[in-house]
Symmetry: C2
Subunit: 340 residues, 2 copies
């Protein structure tokens, strides 16, 4: 047992602590606080958990992509520029948290976590293009096409998207191949016509039509696909890799779709309330583009309530997992309380 | 045996004929030609083979992509517009021919054949964009962005690329999951930094530099990646699905890289010698763009010789397969003798 514990990564040890953290804290007063600390592990600390997963993700991303010859230097530099440009790494975190909830290993989920961030980065590079949102800044830095040109940016996005699938297929170890195939299918679905590309096309078509033309049902469809689909893939792939049952994967999908919508509601609120400096990208873009948003349809106060309701529903979908769901529950809270 | 024969597809029956076609035709004169025909099956007919595979491919492509709700109608229409716009379907044919050479089933290879064409279509849509080659016509029809706008064209390409992987992962039946994972890895590699996107970036960077700056080594690198990488994936995936050994897959890769280069040499020759009408796309583009091509580096006559040498080397890599390699050998000939 000790040998096995020594082989675990720090994050796995933390997960182990989480599963034993369900014991209630002693209520009697104690003169020796240090004894309490050793008897009951500390409550779940989201900030520590997120920082740990962020560090793990950054290292895995950095290792995932190197130029193998002089001819690929430009495209790999362009891919790495956007892939390594910071970001919250929410999708990898969701994948790790889901896999840990079912006792899966972080190592087995790491290639999928990397792939999720490659896909997300591709969507950002292509969204920022002059032919799309025409954004010059992202995360406070010049966007990919500003530095490398539209042509290279388009191709770097394509390469990131295909490398995501290649990486999962080649690097996932210690998991039955059937699960890897399911993960690749889920990742593929999350980008296609009923994924982020389909959501984006509807979003573009509705732009400038004003709140009258776009009702709540359409807005929900757009964001369920544009934003929530990839979060759904993140959580369900983590669960699949750990061997979750179909029923359990479905619970994860409910959670993910709810936080996906909450994520977008929060984004819409931030677009109105935060500054460009805080966001690291141009604020107030939705207003300029006459885009239908949750604040426009519901007002700011009701939008905040809706975001909270969605997070509550997300957590309810995972109620049966108890403290093992603490990281996913914490990430749900984070998604609507973040400042960028 | 008869029951099993009845269950085979026509193309499988043809393949069966091919494996028995090695017997030499009788040399003596015969008064009853019909008897000769029944004694020795007809020699391999490339045109029939290609038409049969083209029909199979078109049907599979048509079935692969439907809009499931009103919100996805535009993106699916845009994806289907380019996917179903004709084309030679060389990549699916190569995949089918390779899988048949190793006794694999056409049915098991069909999702991969579809994926290859989805990937190829994505690369055409993105290449034609104003930010890239800025082409208004493809196969004699308006290009995707001319009809749907640059933004939808970019997203339709992204969706086709991800759907390719999804389709293989979800629809491949009767093959061990390990092989499906290997196929998905090979498809991913063929698009990334050492695949068509990497080849394209190098091609863009060399454009306008003239023949002095781009030598034969660089030109070969560009086309090995821009063109040959996806052909290599087509042949090797067909082989992998049929259970070919690593050594056999390597022989297929040698064949594919040789015909991939031959394909590009032939393309360069056609760009000089064929009319826009024959090509279905703008002719003489390479000259206008001051692009380094095989004819520019070697002259037209030597380019034709090089194309033939490459095809001979491709066939030599498959010499040990005898008549079972007839379709792949025939496709190699076709690649340098086509008129568009």
């Amino acid at each position: 047992m000790i040998n096995r514990l020594l082989m675990l990564l720090p994050a796995q040890l933390l997960a182990l602590e989480l599963t034993t953290a369900s014991r209630p804290l002693p209520t009697r007063t104690c003169r020796h606080p240090c004894m309490v600390a050793s008897a009951a592990p500390p409550a779940f600390d989201l900030a520590t958990y997120m920082e740990e997963k962020r560090v793990l993700t950054e290292a895995a991303l950095d290792a995932s992509l190197k130029s193998s010859c002089k001819e690929t230097e430009i495209i790999v530099e362009s891919m790495r520029y956007s892939l390594m440009a910071g970001g919250k790494r929410v999708r990898p975190m969701l994948c790790f948290a889901a896999t840990e909830m079912f006792g899966g290993s972080l190592e087995a989920a790491t290639p999928t976590a990397v792939a999720l961030e490659m896909i997300h980065t591709m969507s950002l590079i292509h969204d920022d293009l002059p032919a799309m949102d025409n954004d010059d800044f992202r995360r406070g830095k010049p966007t990919n096409h500003v530095l490398y040109g539209d042509d290279v940016a388009i191709l770097a996005g394509d390469a990131l998207l295909s490398t995501a699938f290649e990486h999962v297929a080649k690097e996932t170890k210690g998991v039955p191949a059937e699960r890897v195939v399911r993960v690749l299918a889920a990742l593929g679905t999350s980008v296609g016509a009923v994924g982020l590309a389909g959501g984006q096309v509807m979003d573009l078509k509705c732009e400038g039509q004003g709140a009258d033309a776009v009702d709540m049902e359409t807005l929900t469809w757009i964001h369920t696909h544009k934003t929530a689909a990839l979060l759904k893939a993140a959580v369900s792939c983590g669960a699949i890799l750990a061997g979750a049952t179909d029923e359990q994967v479905k619970q994860c999908e409910v959670y993910a779709l709810k936080i996906g919508l909450a994520f977008q509601v929060a984004d819409d609120i931030l677009d109105v309330t935060a500054s460009t400096e805080e966001l690291g990208k141009t604020a107030g873009k939705d207003l300029d583009a006459d885009k239908t948003t949750y604040p426009k349809l519901l007002g700011l106060d009701r939008s905040r309530e809706v975001a909270q309701e969605l997070v509550d529903e997300a957590k309810a979908a995972l109620a049966s997992y108890g403290d093992a769901a603490a990281p996913l529950n914490g990430l749900a809270d984070y998604i609507i309380n973040r400042s960028n």
